[in-house]
C-alpha cells in the first residue's frame, strides 16, 4: 500500500535567495566569462590604440573610454535576467522578490569583481606611469580624484545602475509591450529635455557646472547610488504584479 508523504515543510526553506545567485552563476558564461572577456578585450584594444598613437609620436597622456564597454554589458545583463531567467525562475517556484533580490545580488557579485579588476588596473597604471608609455585605461583622473576606494565605488555604482536600468526597461517591455516601453523611453527623454530647458532658461549652466565640480566624483557616485536605489525599487514594483 501507499505510504504517506513524509515531507511537510511548514517553514520556507532558507537560502532560496542565495540559491538564486547560484542559479544565475550556474552557467558561468553569463555573469563571469563574458564580462571578463569584454573587460579584457576592451583593455587590449585600448592598449593597441594607445601603442599606435604612441608610435605616431604622441608622448602625452593617452586615455580613452574603453573602460565603459563592460558597463554596457550590464545593461544587456539586466535585460537578459528579466526576459530569460525570470520565466525560468517561476518554473523553479520562486517568488518574485526572491528572484529579484537574488538577481541583484548576482549582478552585484559580478559588478564587484569587475570593479576590483578596474581598480587593480588603475593602481598598476598609477605605479608604472601608464605601463611606461603614459597609457591609461582605468586611471582616469576625474574618477580617481578621491582615491582608489572612491574610484572602485564609482565603477561599481555604474555597473549596478546599468543593470537596474536594463532590468526595468525589459520589465516594462514584457509587461506593457512595445508601446509601454516607447512611452517610458520618451517620458524619460522628455524629463531630461525639460531639465535642460529649465537650466537653459534660467541661465543656470554655470551654477550647474559649479555644483558638479563641487560635488566631485565621490559625491556624484553617492547621488548615482541613490538614483539606482530608486530605480531598483521602481523595477521591483513593476515586476511584483506582472504575470508570466
Amino acid at each position: 500500500m501507499t505510504t504517506l508523504n513524509p515531507v511537510a515543510h511548514h517553514t520556507a526553506p532558507r537560502n532560496r535567495m542565495l540559491n538564486v545567485v547560484r542559479l544565475q552563476f550556474l552557467n558561468r558564461q553569463t555573469f563571469l566569462w563574458v564580462p571578463a572577456l569584454i573587460l579584457g578585450g576592451s583593455w587590449a584594444l585600448s592598449m593597441l590604440i594607445f601603442w599606435i598613437v604612441g608610435g605616431a609620436g604622441q608622448t602625452g597622456v593617452k586615455a580613452g573610454g574603453g573602460a565603459q564597454a563592460p558597463l554596457w554589458y550590464f545593461l544587456a545583463l539586466g535585460i537578459q535576467a528579466m526576459t530569460m531567467t525570470f520565466p525560468f525562475s517561476q518554473a523553479m517556484s520562486l517568488t518574485r522578490k526572491e528572484f529579484y533580490l537574488g538577481s541583484l545580488a548576482a549582478a552585484a557579485v559580478s559588478g564587484l569583481g569587475m570593479s576590483v579588476v578596474f581598480v587593480l588596473l588603475g593602481l598598476l597604471e598609477q605605479a608604472t606611469g601608464g605601463y611606461g608609455f603614459n597609457a591609461y585605461f582605468s586611471y582616469l583622473e576625474w574618477v580617481w580624484m578621491a582615491g582608489p576606494l572612491a574610484a572602485f565605488l564609482t565603477y561599481f555604482a555604474l555597473t549596478m545602475f546599468f543593470f537596474v536600468v536594463g532590468f526595468w526597461f525589459a520589465t516594462i517591455f514584457k509587461r506593457f509591450g512595445a508601446v509601454g516601453l516607447a512611452s517610458s523611453l520618451l517620458g524619460t527623454g522628455a524629463v531630461l529635455v525639460a531639465v535642460v530647458a529649465l537650466v537653459t532658461f534660467r541661465q543656470a549652466w554655470p551654477a550647474v557646472a559649479q555644483w558638479f565640480m563641487a560635488t566631485g566624483s565621490l559625491g556624484l557616485t553617492l547621488w548615482g547610488l541613490a538614483l539606482t536605489t530608486v530605480l531598483a525599487i521602481g523595477s521591483y514594483l513593476t515586476l511584483r504584479r506582472m504575470p508570466v
Binding site: A12, R16, Q90
Partner: protein, 306 residues
C-alpha cells in the same frame, strides 16, 4: 482526505475576454486530477493563478491553507511544468536540472538520471537547440524528479511521440504509486490519460462543467444504436447529449445509466448499447454547450478534443 487547494469564485478577466468566470473547486491531497477542456477554456490560466505566476481579478485561492502569491512557504512545495516554458538562452538541460536541484527540496537526482536515459536527452546541447519533444522532456523530467507535493503538468507532452508519452505515463504512475502526491494534469489526449486520473475537472469557456471521480464520469452516459423510434421509447425523459441518424437508424448518447431490466428490454428490441468513453463524453458535453451558446468563439484550429 483533505483539500490542499481551495478555489472560490475565481475570476480572471482581460480587457476583451473573461478567461475564468467565477469558478470554485477543491483539490484533495494525494490524487491525480485530470484538468480537461478545449484550448482556451482557461486551464493554463487556472494553473498559473494557483502557482502565483498570474494574479486573479477577483475571488480566493488557497494552497495549503494560504494565499500562494509571493509566498515562499507555499511555492516551495509546488512545481508547475508549462507547455511553453522558457529557459535562459544559453542554458543546457544540465543547467536546468542543476537549478531544479537547488530549489525543489524533494528533488531525486537518481530518478532524473533514469528519465534522462529514458528520453535520451542530450545534456550538453543548449535547450534552445533541442527539438520540441526534447524540450517537453526537460519539463517532464523536472516535474517528475522534483517530487513536489503538488505538481502541475500543463500539456506536458507536446512533440513527444507515442512511445515517449507512454514512458511519461508509466513513470508518472510508478513514481506516484511509490511517492503519493497531488498531481494536476491538463491534457487534450483524454483517452491516453483517462485510466491514470482519479478525478476529472472539466473546464469549458472559463467555467467548471464537471467535477467528479473518473469512475463516475465513465458511467455517466450511455450510447444506444438502433431503430430511432425504439430508442426514443427507451431513452424516455433522460437528457440526450448527442444524436446522429442514418435513415431510420439513430445513435443516441444520453446521460444516465440503465438497470439490468431496462437493458434486457433494449436488447429484445434489437438496440445495441455501448459504453461512452471519457473522451466521447467530454466531446459531447462541450459540443452541446457550444451549440447552446452560439456566441462562444470557435476554438483554435488545433482546439478540437481529439
Amino acid at each position: 482526505m483533505s483539500a490542499v487547494i481551495e478555489v472560490r469564485d475565481l475570476t480572471k478577466s482581460y480587457k476583451d475576454a473573461v478567461a475564468l468566470d467565477g469558478i470554485s473547486f477543491d483539490i484533495e491531497q494525494n490524487a491525480i486530477y485530470g484538468l480537461l477542456g478545449r484550448n482556451g477554456a482557461g486551464k493554463t490560466t487556472a494553473m498559473s493563478i494557483l502557482t502565483a505566476q498570474n494574479l486573479p481579478s477577483s475571488g480566493q485561492v488557497k494552497v495549503f491553507g494560504e494565499n500562494p502569491y509571493e509566498n515562499p512557504k507555499v511555492l516551495s512545495r509546488m512545481c508547475f511544468v508549462r507547455e511553453s516554458q522558457k529557459y535562459p538562452d544559453d542554458a543546457t538541460a544540465r543547467h536546468a536540472f542543476a537549478a531544479a536541484r537547488l530549489f525543489f527540496p524533494n528533488w531525486d537526482q537518481g530518478l532524473a538520471d533514469e528519465l534522462i536515459d529514458d528520453f535520451q536527452l542530450p545534456l550538453k546541447r543548449t535547450i534552445k537547440k533541442l527539438s520540441r519533444g526534447q524540450l517537453s522532456a526537460v519539463g517532464v523530467i523536472i516535474g517528475l524528479a522534483s517530487r513536489a507535493e503538488i505538481t502541475f503538468f500543463d500539456e506536458p507532452y507536446l512533440g513527444l511521440d507515442a512511445v515517449a508519452r507512454q514512458t511519461f505515463y508509466d513513470r508518472l504512475l510508478a513514481d506516484y504509486a511509490e511517492h503519493p502526491r497531488t498531481i494536476l494534469l491538463s491534457s487534450h489526449l483524454i483517452d491516453e490519460v483517462s485510466n491514470l486520473i482519479e478525478r476529472v475537472l472539466l473546464i469549458d469557456a472559463g467555467r467548471i462543467i464537471m467535477d467528479q471521480s473518473a469512475e463516475d464520469a465513465r458511467a455517466m452516459a450511455t450510447n444506444v444504436v438502433g431503430d430511432a423510434a425504439a430508442i426514443d421509447r427507451a431513452v424516455g425523459g433522460r437528457e440526450v447529449i448527442h444524436r446522429e441518424s442514418l435513415g431510420r437508424v439513430a445513435s443516441v448518447t444520453f446521460l444516465g445509466h440503465l438497470d439490468n431490466a431496462e437493458r434486457s428490454v433494449l436488447a429484445a428490441e434489437g438496440l445495441e448499447l455501448a459504453p461512452v468513453s471519457l473522451q466521447q463524453l467530454i466531446v459531447r458535453l462541450t459540443q452541446q454547450r457550444s451549440a447552446g451558446a452560439p456566441h462562444v468563439a470557435p476554438a483554435a484550429p488545433e482546439g478540437s478534443l481529439r
